[in-house]
């Protein structure tokens, strides 16, 4: 491992504003139809966005689709299959959308009617506009990286560990990339790649990262 990097790791974070699409679904077929046509930003909002904004619900519902299927439609087979699906295992929104559609299509192919949402409990498709910006924290050494991770906000950690997968296009993250390329520490990078990103809270995720880097509490 190099003692210091030429290129620093720059900590970024995100902010989001949510847009209403005007599209709703009252049933599983309508949910499927909506998922087929809404923007990637909408799929992101209801999956990754749900994990980011409601981390401690992730161990129950890994997406807004799963939660709605469970709590409103009470269609337990599809709710369970959607809840089991881990969005962080998908390197692209396209693949995630296809998988969600497959789960719903499989359910619709089964015999029997599916439920409709009571009035007022329709699924409302939303989408996010994401703003990315540096927070003024950089790291050139492993110690500085650890310090930055300790101080980082929940959103910043989520951006670098989870959302990074969508940017990079495979199941890794920003920290692993920098550890490998800038510090020549591939073994540390591999440890981070194996983290369970569906931690009940960001604090749990932070402690997992620190432990993987050998600096846990």
């Amino acid at each position: 491992m190099r003692p210091a990097a030429n290129e620093p790791f720059v900590f970024y974070t995100t902010a989001h504003i949510v847009e209403l699409t005007g599209r709703t679904a009252r049933s599983l077929p309508e949910l499927r139809d909506g998922i087929r046509v809404v923007t990637g930003s909408s799929i992101f909002h209801h999956t990754f966005g749900a994990l980011r904004d409601r981390p401690f619900t992730a161990h129950r519902y890994t997406s807004d689709f799963a939660r709605w299927a469970a709590e409103v439609l009470q269609d337990w087979p599809v709710a369970e299959r959607l809840a089991f699906m881990d969005p962080t295992e998908f390197p692209s929104i396209r693949e995630l959308r296809e998988r969600i559609l497959q789960v719903i299509e499989d359910r619709l192919a089964q015999e029997g009617e599916t439920a409709a949402a009571p009035p007022g409990r329709e699924f409302h498709f939303r989408q996010s506009i994401s703003l990315m910006y540096a927070v003024g924290q950089e790291a050139r050494t492993l110690s500085e990286l650890v310090e930055g991770i300790r101080r980082a906000s929940a959103r910043s950690l989520f951006f670098h560990l989870v959302e990074a997968r969508l940017r990079i296009g495979r199941c890794t993250n920003d920290l692993s990339g920098w550890l490998t390329d800038a510090l020549d520490a591939p073994s540390l990078a591999r440890r981070l790649d194996q983290l369970d990103l569906l931690a009940p809270s960001t604090e749990d995720l932070r402690q997992q990262v620190l432990a993987a880097l050998g600096r846990g509490q």
Partner: protein, 411 residues
């Protein structure tokens, strides 16, 4: 007067990193001006929100003015009728009423300085100010704080002609919105953790207030805080309490206001007192305006908080209770399901019996109640505090500077 807050005051609540991020987010907006326009400077949720939001924007070097439109009793009578019509109550709105609405808006447009980089018009009363927009310099946003999903059609058609002239609109929840040809954003309402209604209280202070209100802390307290309105179903809450009390020991507090200045409120209060029938363990408290300290204490002292509304807006009383780590039992109406993930941050119910069942189960399982409370507070912390609201407004303002972009990289 509300003490002025500073952004750094929230470090103790949301952490230094979150506050630093807000400062970094605001940098592209430094020096840009904002204008907030609403119908009242005192009382009501919008004034409360602006009293907190504007000093924080100023703290971020975004000079922000606040203008309040003027109108006589007749104008506000028209806007009250419009408000009821937007909620779906059948109201007769005459042509002269609408003409008065337009005239008062035009008078205000002529009198007010409406020039700013971002102009936010709050709720229907000043909506027609958009006709005074000039030179296309600033961005105009209509912020709707009420649920207009089921309005009286002719009233909505009248207002809509103005709304569609804005650059964007903002609603508190998708369920509260209407289809519009302009961008619609969603910004949840928020509570201020540093306000009198939500600040931390010492046990002694809570005890003193309970004593003053005539409530003994010798058995678990179940509380609903809401004005005396049939849509809050206070009689239903009493019935649920009586069912629960067959097997668990507790007392009930129904605390609210709105009875002195609302003829219907007085009638409902009377109905509630009749239903309570002199039961010494049912405390019906008619609180005067600005009883924030008392509400804070009552919520904190409660073993269970109930919000058994039949219809609801966003439900900020639920947010307040969740913030105080109270286990909350609430109806699945309005904005409440946005706040309560059933069995995780609270409990959603659909009937009197359901409410009774959940009161009973929470009082029998204090560990589960405690976990619900902890989760509820974390949920509010992430989404429904003043700092989240501020961040959303900053993001919206920047987004308006980058039309059409879904991912915006700031320098």
């Amino acid at each position: 007067m509300t003490p002025r807050v500073h952004l750094d005051d929230y470090v103790g609540v949301v952490g230094e990193a979150a506050v630093e991020e807000i400062r970094a987010l605001a940098r592209p907006l430094e020096g840009r001006s904002a204008l907030m326009v609403n119908a009242t400077a005192v009382g009501g949720g919008v004034a409360e929100l602006l009293n907190r939001l504007i000093p924080l924007l100023e703290d971020l070097e975004i000079p922000t003015r606040w203008e309040v439109i003027r109108g006589g009793g007749e104008f506000f009578g028209v806007t009250k009728a419009i408000h009821n019509a937007l909620h779906g109550t059948r109201v007769e709105i005459t042509k002269p009423m609408l003409e008065l609405f337009q005239e008062v808006n035009a008078e205000n447009a002529a009198a007010l300085d409406l020039d700013a980089d971002l102009v936010v018009i709050h709720d229907p009363q000043p909506v027609a100010l958009i006709t005074a927009r000039s030179n296309g310099r600033g961005r105009w946003v209509w912020r709707c704080h009420v649920d207009i999903a089921h309005p009286q059609p002719d009233v909505w058609a009248f207002l809509r002609q103005y709304v569609v002239q804005y650059d964007a609109s903002v609603f508190s929840a998708p369920e509260f919105s209407q289809r519009l040809p302009i961008t619609q954003y969603m910004i949840h309402p928020a509570i201020d953790p540093l306000a009198e209604k939500n600040r931390e209280m010492e046990p002694g202070e809570v005890e003193e207030i309970l004593t003053r209100l005539g409530i003994r802390d010798d058995r678990p307290i179940v509380t609903q805080v809401s004005r005396f309105d049939r849509l809050k179903d206070p009689v239903g809450v009493i019935r649920a309490y009586r069912l629960a009390r067959r097997t668990v020991d507790c007392q009930l507090v129904l605390a609210g206001g709105g009875a002195t200045d609302d003829p219907e409120g007085s009638i409902v209060l009377e109905e509630v007192r009749r239903e309570a029938d002199g039961d010494p363990l049912i405390h019906v408290l008619e609180l005067p305006p600005f009883s924030d300290r008392e509400i804070n204490a009552l919520q904190r002292a409660s073993a269970v908080v109930v919000q058994k509304s039949l219809r609801e807006g966003f439900g900020l009383t639920v947010t307040e209770a969740l913030w105080k780590k109270r286990p909350v039992i609430a109806s699945a109406v309005g904005g409440i399901p946005l706040q309560i993930v059933h069995n995780l941050t609270g409990l959603l119910v659909h009937s009197i019996e359901g409410t009774a069942h959940r009161i009973r189960s929470l009082l029998r399982d204090p560990e589960f109640a405690r976990r619900l409370g902890e989760n509820g507070r974390e949920y509010v912390k992430a989404r429904f505090l003043t700092t989240s609201n501020l961040q959303a407004w900053l993001a919206l303002a920047i987004s308006l500077m980058h039309p059409g972009e879904r991912i915006i990289r700031l320098a």
